[in-house]
Symmetry: C2
Subunit: 382 residues, 2 copies
């Protein structure tokens, strides 16, 4: 069915889910297809390869893409189930709500977690990170973009600190809100695990846990002394399946979300069709446009400076006297859906705008201009 | 977009995924929608209510529907994470491949599992079940339809044995391949947990773990002495979210698969639009047609008798001299996709046909006749 057009709807500009292209949604409406069929196997295999490509990882690095029905959150459990043994030390760099939750998750699997907390809108200092590394923890987690604050952590720099001060420590990047919208160089930086989901920069509906694990991380999982702490999320079960699909062979552990993998495949092919640096630049340009326009309205941002602000979203403070119940419904009346605050310490003080995927890349849609026009009207900034 | 027609494709008649209706697939192509939006909240809430209705459970029973991005397999982990404490005894009634795997899963969470194994094609004897109950295990699992053998376990009868001989034991029904194709009366029978997935009788794409838990099961989970063994699959996290959605309130723990919930909602509304007994009768009639036709070709079945054979699928033995590589590709040439064997002991000896959902209910499609015609041609039984 060519010529498919999605239904009319309000413009979705929250930090995920995002707007999806017609071709991605049509792929999500693929007819009933067997998960072991000759039609589907190469699509799944190609999707795994494309994920490695978009994260700038080579097949030679033997990094392992893992796609399982679930959500971004389930990627945290993948760390707990596969990498954590009870009593292991873990450092969580906390730039907002998602750091707290990641720590909760790792503690559920018996990790001894040390959190390095930043002030709201800030990032942890180098000294605090280096100090936390002195005990040579098993792993360290970085929330690349914490959607509760819109803060972008300097993942490359932090990874280099780890390599210098505790090279055995596994570096886990929570990239749920950064894959395909912020720069990630898996092999060059020496990351051990990228955790993501489909509904943000990857531009497909929610419902898939997206993971890339380094050869080293897989080996740590294989060489653990205690059994993996779970079943459905166990790499021991899934890695042979992923290897088979990538090699073009049918394989079964649990039924994959066939339609959603077709949708992700469609989106990844679009993303990988251009140079990845063009993608980053498109998100930087979208972010600059939105932030410059908001600045010119006299608005302030949650991140303390532009250089630690995400390119795929903006966390912006309300002007004095305005609150979410004044602003968000009026934007919705104009068919613009933004998100309210999430970080408890400042929850009523700000709102969040997403500008990832087609909204950032396909400027002919006019999404960004529509958002700015709507905000100007609602805040009386015309 | 009314008038949506799915792409031409081979007829999918395996024991799941199944054929999906155009309206279900169009719902799976719903535009980007926020998981906390006023548009989506009532859809999710209604879907939870419809699940209870289809399983013949009342709101007054305080049974708890739980829908999480995942797969049918993840429902086993839900038992392990929420109900099993290390050292707990569990009885697994084994009628095929999925009994073995369910036992593996529970052992991963520290359960001491006793398997009551049936012969291939049979069901466990009452004596064996009663004997296994003598130690008053924490829970017992029944694979309602084991898709590796096509055996239908007498879930009502087994549940009555449990109520008589060990009433405190929780009864867990693995109904991945039976919800909406085989009779299940959650409240009347006194089940404690039904585990399912979307891609079989429920008639929606794969990617969602479908669970209904009794008030008693939820209480067992709440009153456990040790913490729940996980994070993403923890009812402690999800039940408040499900209650909020059902009450029409936004709520967030992890992003639900919005599009798939629209699809499931569409399918459940269709299923619930008629009396549920009509649905069972339609599957019985489809099964009778398929099995009678295969019998008249002189073929034998894997289940030892018709009264323990599933109504939503058929496991049928090849005639002497035929094997899967002779038969399945020739059916595929005729645009008919059936499944090869799965049970290791007989894997080369049989194949599997699914007849659930629209294929069974909407006889005007002619799916069943097409399958029989194809098999006759390929086996030279014209």
């Amino acid at each position: 069915m060519s010529g498919f057009k999605q239904a009319d709807h309000k413009l979705l500009v929250i930090p995920g889910p995002i707007e999806f292209s017609d071709s991605v949604l049509l792929a999500n409406a693929t007819p009933g297809t067997a998960h072991t069929s000759p039609a589907f196997i190469p699509v799944f295999g190609e999707t795994l390869k494309l994920l490695r490509k978009v994260l700038l990882s080579s097949e030679e690095s033997e990094s392992q893409p893992i796609l399982i029905a679930g959500s971004g959150t389930m990627g945290w459990d993948a760390v707990g189930v596969n990498l954590v043994e009870r009593g292991d030390e873990a450092v969580v760099l906390n730039t907002g709500y998602f750091g707290d939750s990641f720590a909760d998750c790792l503690e559920a699997y018996g990790a001894k977690v040390t959190q390095v907390k930043a002030e709201v809108g800030g990032i942890p200092t180098d000294d605090a990170i280096i100090s936390a590394l002195s005990s040579k923890p098993k792993l360290i987690t970085i929330t690349h973009v914490d959607t509760s604050t819109g803060v972008l952590s300097p993942a490359k720099h932090i990874t280099s600190l780890v390599k210098k001060h505790s090279p055995e420590t596994l570096v886990i990047l929570d990239a749920v809100c950064s894959v395909a919208s912020e720069e990630i160089r898996f092999d060059d930086w020496g990351l051990d695990m990228v955790i993501s989901a489909t509904q943000k920069g990857l531009g497909a509906p929610p419902g898939l846990s997206v993971v890339l694990a380094s050869k080293r991380a897989v080996e740590v999982s294989e060489n653990r002394k205690t059994p993996q702490q779970g079943y459905y999320i166990s790499w021991k079960k899934w890695i042979p399946i992923m290897k088979n699909y990538e090699a073009g062979k049918p394989s079964y552990f649990a039924t994959p979300p066939v339609q959603l993998i077709y949708a992700l495949n469609t989106s990844l092919k679009f993303i990988a069709s251009k140079d990845i640096s063009e993608l980053y630049e498109a998100h930087k340009a979208a972010s600059k446009y939105i932030k410059d326009e908001l600045s010119s309205m006299g608005l302030d941002f949650v991140p303390k400076s532009r250089d630690i602000a995400a390119n795929g979203m903006t966390a912006v403070r309300f002007p004095k006297g305005s609150t979410a119940p004044d602003v968000l419904p009026k934007l919705a009346e104009r068919d613009i859906v933004v998100a309210a605050g999430l970080h408890k310490a400042i929850i009523t003080e700000y709102f969040r705008i997403g500008h990832m995927g087609v909204t950032a890349v396909d400027r002919s849609r006019g999404d960004l201009e529509k958002v700015i026009k709507g905000i100007k009207e609602v805040l009386g900034k015309n």
